[in-house]
C-alpha cells in the first residue's frame, strides 16, 4: 500500500524539480521557491473559485501566471544576485517569502484557501484488487507524465541539452556560446511554473494558506539536497524515496513523528554529500 | 645516486573514462629549475594537484625524499615542504596583502592555533611577513586590500603566500597567466630571484620564460610524459617540435 506515499512523492517532485534545476544551473539558493508554489496554488484555487475555471484550465493558468511573474522577478532582482554570496541569496529569498506571505495575508486573509476538486476526482476508485483514493492515482499518473515529459525535454531538446551542459560545466557552456542568462530565465520560469502546478495539485493534501511558503520549504529542500542539484531523475527518485519513506514510517511507526525523515536525510547526505544522483559540487 | 627530492612512480589518475595522467614517472631534484610543458589538457595541472595532494592518484606513488607520501593530505604536505601557487588566483581577497602573507607565515610557524594573543602582537610573524613582502617588492602595497591591486601584483601575492611557507619544493602553475605583458616582467624577475635551494617546478606556456628559467624540461602529452631533458635537448627534439612547439599558439 505505497500508493499514498508515491502520490505524496509526486507532489514533492513537481514542486522541487524546478528548484533543483535552477539551483544546479546558477548555484542560486532560492528559498522563495515554495513561495512560487504558493502563489501558483492561490492563482489556481482562486481562478476556480471566482472565475469558475475548470481544474485543468486553472492549472494551466496558474502555471502561466506564475511563470510570467517569476520572469519579472528574475530579470529585475534575482539577476543582480547571481554572483553574490550564498548568504545574500538566502536573505534575499527569505525576504521575498516574507513579502509574499504578508501580501497574501493582507489581500486574502490568513485562512486556508480550500481546493474543490472536480467531482470525478473525489472519492475512491476500484482497481479490481483494491479500492484506492482516486486523486492519489491521478497525481501518480500526472507525476509520471511530467517526469517523462521533462526527461524527454532534457534529453531530446536543444534547450535540455544546453541546460545539462550548463549544469555540468558552466564555463564550458558559456565558451560554447550558450547564453546562460537567457537559459536561466527560461528554466527559472519553467521551474516556477512547475512549482505553481505542484502548489495547485498538492493543495488537496497540503492545504494552501500564506504560511505554505515556509511550512513545506524544508521538505522541498530535503528532496533537492538528496536528489542532487540539477538532476531531474535524481529529484524524481529522491521525491519518491522521501514520500514513500515518510508515508511508511508514519503509518507503521507514528510515534517517531517526522524524526525519521530528518535522520534519513542526514545519513543520506553524509553518505553522498552531492545527493544520491548529483555529481557536481554543491 | 641519491634519492630525488620529489618523485612519482607510475602515477595515474582517471576521471571517469578520462585518463588525466597515465603512468607518470617524474623526478624533481633539490634546487632544480624544472619546467613542465605540454598542450592544453595534457594533464599538467592534474600532475601538480597530485603532487600537492589536492587529489589522490588512482594508481601509483608520490615520494618525498624517498618517503611514500601518496596518502598524505594537502595540508600535511605543506608541512613537509611542498608549496604551490594556482593558475587562477586563490587569494584572501578581502584582506590586506600583509594579512594574506601573515596567514601563511602563522601557519608555518605553528602560531595559527593560538587564540589569546592579538595577531598584531606576534612581531615574529609580522616581521617575517614584512621581510618577505620586501623581497618581493610588495612593501608599499602591504596595507592595501588584495582585491584593489592590479592583477600583476595580485600574482605576486599569490607567489608570496607560497614562499611564506618556506618550501623545499615550489610548484608554480602558470605564474604569469593572465598578467598583461607590460607587467609580466615583475613576475619573471621574482621567479629569477627565488632562493636557489628551493626546487621549483613551473608550468607555463610562455616558451621564453620556460627556456630562460629551466634547467630541465618535461613535456607531457595526453596525460603521459612525452619527453624529458635539458632545454637544449628538448628544443632540438624533432618529435617535441612536431607535437608541441610547432603548434604552440602562445609564446
Amino acid at each position: 500500500m505505497l500508493l499514498g506515499g508515491i502520490a505524496a512523492g509526486m507532489i514533492l517532485f513537481i514542486v522541487s524539480v524546478g528548484l533543483s534545476v535552477t539551483m544546479g544551473l546558477m548555484g542560486f539558493v532560492n528559498l522563495a521557491h515554495g513561495g512560487f508554489a504558493m502563489l501558483g496554488g492561490y492563482a489556481i484555487v482562486l481562478a476556480m473559485k471566482h472565475w469558475g475555471l475548470g481544474f485543468v484550465t486553472a492549472l494551466a493558468f496558474g502555471f502561466l501566471a506564475t511563470a510570467a511573474a517569476s520572469v519579472v522577478l528574475e530579470r529585475l532582482l534575482y539577476a543582480r544576485l547571481y554572483r553574490a554570496t550564498e548568504l545574500d541569496q538566502v536573505l534575499f529569498t527569505i525576504g521575498l517569502v516574507f513579502i509574499m506571505i504578508a501580501s497574501l495575508t493582507l489581500r486574502f486573509g490568513p485562512e486556508n484557501q480550500p481546493l474543490t476538486l472536480p467531482r470525478a476526482l473525489q472519492g475512491q476508485i476500484d482497481l479490481g484488487f483494491v479500492q484506492y483514493r482516486t486523486y492519489s492515482l491521478v497525481l501518480i499518473v500526472t507525476g509520471i507524465a511530467i517526469v517523462v515529459a521533462l526527461w524527454l525535454g532534457f534529453e531530446r531538446t536543444r534547450l535540455g541539452a544546453q541546460i545539462r551542459a550548463a549544469v555540468d560545466n558552466r564555463r564550458m557552456a558559456e565558451s560554447l556560446g550558450i547564453n546562460i542568462a537567457r537559459l536561466f530565465t527560461i528554466t527559472f520560469a519553467l521551474g516556477s511554473g512547475m512549482a505553481a502546478l505542484g502548489g495547485g495539485l498538492g493543495a488537496e493534501f497540503l492545504g494552501l494558506d500564506p504560511q505554505y511558503a515556509l511550512k513545506y520549504l524544508v521538505y522541498f529542500l530535503i528532496v533537492v539536497a538528496v536528489g542532487g542539484l540539477g538532476r531531474v531523475t535524481g529529484v524524481f527518485f529522491a521525491a519518491l524515496l522521501i514520500g514513500v519513506l515518510d508515508f511508511v514510517l508514519k503509518k507503521y511507526l507514528p510515534q517517531g513523528g517526522p524524526m525519521f525523515i530528518y535522520a534519513v536525510t542526514i545519513v543520506l547526505l553524509l553518505w553522498r554529500p552531492q545527493g544520491l544522483f548529483g555529481g557536481k559540487a554543491a | 645516486m641519491t634519492a630525488p627530492l620529489l618523485e612519482t612512480r607510475a602515477l595515474t589518475r582517471n576521471f571517469g573514462a578520462l585518463l588525466a595522467t597515465r603512468e607518470v614517472d617524474f623526478r624533481l631534484d633539490a634546487g632544480a629549475r624544472h619546467a613542465l610543458i605540454g598542450p592544453n589538457g595534457a594533464g599538467k595541472t592534474t600532475l601538480v594537484n597530485l603532487l600537492a595532494g589536492v587529489i589522490s592518484p588512482t594508481r601509483g606513488q608520490v615520494l618525498l625524499k624517498g618517503r611514500d607520501i601518496t596518502g598524505v593530505g594537502q595540508a600535511e604536505r605543506v608541512k613537509l615542504g611542498i608549496a604551490r601557487t594556482f593558475q587562477i588566483n586563490r587569494l584572501f581577497r578581502g584582506l590586506s596583502v600583509l594579512e594574506n602573507v601573515y596567514i601563511a607565515v602563522a601557519e608555518r610557524m605553528g602560531v595559527a592555533p593560538s587564540m589569546f594573543r592579538p595577531a598584531g602582537r606576534r612581531t615574529d610573524v609580522v616581521n617575517e611577513s614584512m621581510h618577505l613582502l620586501d623581497t618581493l617588492r610588495l612593501t608599499a602595497d602591504a596595507g592595501r586590500r588584495v582585491s584593489e591591486l592590479p592583477y600583476g601584483r595580485q600574482r605576486l601575492v599569490e607567489l608570496a603566500i607560497a614562499l611564506a611557507l618556506s618550501p623545499e619544493v615550489l610548484l608554480l602553475d602558470e605564474p604569469a597567466a593572465g598578467v598583461p605583458s607590460a607587467e609580466s616582467h615583475i613576475i619573471l624577475d621574482a621567479i629569477d630571484r627565488l632562493p636557489p635551494e628551493i626546487a621549483v617546478l613551473i608550468i607555463d606556456h610562455d616558451m621564453d620564460l620556460v627556456f630562460r628559467f629551466a634547467q630541465r624540461i618535461t613535456v607531457m602529452v595526453s596525460g603521459a610524459v612525452f619527453a624529458s631533458g635539458t632545454p637544449r635537448e628538448i628544443g632540438a627534439d624533432p618529435e617535441v617540435r612536431a607535437v608541441y612547439l610547432g603548434q604552440t599558439a602562445r609564446g
Partner: protein, 348 residues
C-alpha cells in the same frame, strides 16, 4: 605613498587593530543606562541581550569562518534544556555552575556535529545543520517525560544568583544585569579570539577556503574548533535564556529562532563583532514596535528590508556605515577597523 610608509602603516594597522577604540565602551554604557532609564522594559531588554549573545556566537562561525548554517538554534536549545532539565528535575539549580554546564554541553554537541557535518558545504551543509536541529527538536518532543514535550518545562526553580539575588519574573532586574555581565565576558572572549592568529586564520577560511589547505592549515579541525566554541557560547545564551525566563520549550530549538538570528546578523553586519549588537537591537526594536502598530506590516517591512539589504547593502547596517565613513575619509588606509568581510561581487 613611499614604500617605507606603506609598509609601516600596514604594520601599525595590524599591530593596533585589536586595541580598544574610543567608542567601544559606548554600547555598555548605553546598556547600563537602559537599566536605569527604562526599568519597565527590562524584560524586553533582557531578551535583547540574550539575542545579542546568540547572534555573537553565530557571527563567529558565519561572519568570521564563513559557514552558513541554518541550525544554530540547536546549541541554544541544548543549552536551554541543560539548565531546564537540571532545575526541573531537582538535580541542580545553582545559576553559574549550570550556566557553565550549558556551555559545555552546547560545545560538546557542537564538536560532535561539527566533526561530522563541516566536511560538506553549500546547500548540503545548510540542510544537514537544519535537519540536525529538527532532529533534536523532534527528539525533545518525543522525550516529553524529560523535556516536557511541546509544553516545555515551566516555573523552573532557579536558585538566587550568588545565593542572594532572586530572579523576579515580573521585574527582571537581576536577570538583566546578570545577562549583561555574561554577555560582556563572552564578548571579550570572542573579541580576543577574532583578533588572534586563530581568528586571522578563520578569516582566511572565509575568504578562500580552497587556499587554506595549500598554506598547510588543517581546515576541518580549525572549523570544528570554531564551531565548538561558537556552539558553547550559543549554549550559554540558551542556558541564560532559560534561567532568565525560568522556562524552556521546544521553540528554543526551532527553525524560527535559527533563521531569525541569521537575519539579525545579516541586518547588523556579519564579521564585525558589533553587527550582532546592531542587528539584534534593530530587528527586535523594529519588530516590537512595528508589530504593535500593525502586525502584518512588520512582516512586509522585514521582507522589504531583507531584499534591500541583500541587493544593496551586503554587509548590513554596519557595512553601510563603514562605507559612508570610508567615503568621508578616503585617504585612510585599510584595516583600521575589524577584519573586513569579503567584498561583495558586483552585480552582473
Amino acid at each position: 605613498m613611499s614604500e617605507y610608509r606603506g609598509g609601516a602603516q600596514a604594520r601599525t594597522a595590524l599591530a593596533r587593530r585589536h586595541r580598544v577604540r574610543a567608542w567601544e565602551p559606548l554600547p555598555w554604557i548605553v546598556a547600563l543606562g537602559f537599566f536605569f532609564a527604562f526599568p519597565k522594559h527590562l524584560g524586553f531588554g533582557t531578551e535583547v541581550l540574550v539575542t545579542i549573545l546568540f547572534a555573537l556566537s553565530l557571527d563567529l562561525v558565519l561572519g568570521y569562518a564563513g559557514i552558513v548554517t541554518l541550525g544554530h538554534a540547536a546549541f541554544f536549545g541544548v543549552g536551554a534544556y541543560t539548565v531546564g532539565m537540571l532545575a526541573k528535575h531537582g538535580l541542580w539549580n545553582e545559576p553559574l555552575t549550570s550556566l557553565a554546564l550549558a556551555g559545555i554541553v552546547g560545545a560538546a554537541v557542537g564538536l560532535g556535529s561539527g566533526l561530522v557535518l563541516l566536511r560538506t558545504r553549500g546547500l548540503t551543509l545548510l540542510m544537514l545543520t537544519l535537519c540536525t536541529m529538527a532532529l533534536l527538536e523532534e527528539a525533545g518532543n518525543l522525550a516529553h517525560t524529560w523535556t516536557g514535550g511541546f509544553d516545555g518545562l515551566d516555573s523552573l526553580p532557579i536558585a538566587p544568583l550568588l545565593g542572594r539575588f532572586e530572579f523576579s519574573p515580573l521585574y527582571p532586574t537581576t536577570q538583566y544585569l546578570y545577562v549583561l555581565v555574561v554577555l560582556f565576558l563572552c564578548f571579550v572572549f570572542v573579541r580576543t579570539l577574532v583578533y588572534s592568529p586563530f581568528g586571522q586564520s578563520l578569516t582566511g577560511i572565509r575568504e578562500n577556503i580552497l587556499r587554506m589547505p595549500a598554506v598547510g592549515a588543517p581546515v576541518p579541525r580549525r572549523l570544528a574548533v570554531c564551531y565548538t566554541l561558537s556552539a558553547g557560547i550559543a549554549g550559554i545564551a540558551g542556558g541564560i535564556w532559560a534561567q532568565a525566563n525560568a522556562y524552556v520549550n521546544l521553540g528554543t530549538l526551532g527553525l524560527d529562532r535559527a533563521a531569525t538570528v541569521l537575519i539579525m546578523l545579516a541586518l547588523g553586519g556579519r564579521g564585525r563583532l558589533y553587527g550582532a549588537f546592531v542587528g539584534a537591537i534593530a530587528y527586535m526594536v523594529l519588530s516590537h514596535f512595528l508589530s504593535k502598530i500593525y502586525p502584518t506590516a512588520w512582516q512586509l517591512g522585514l521582507g522589504l528590508l531583507l531584499v534591500v539589504i541583500a541587493l544593496f547593502a551586503h554587509n548590513g547596517i554596519l557595512g553601510l556605515g563603514e562605507t559612508v565613513w570610508r567615503r568621508l575619509r578616503v585617504s585612510r588606509p585599510l584595516n583600521m577597523g575589524a577584519p573586513q568581510h569579503r567584498t561583495p561581487n558586483p552585480p552582473l
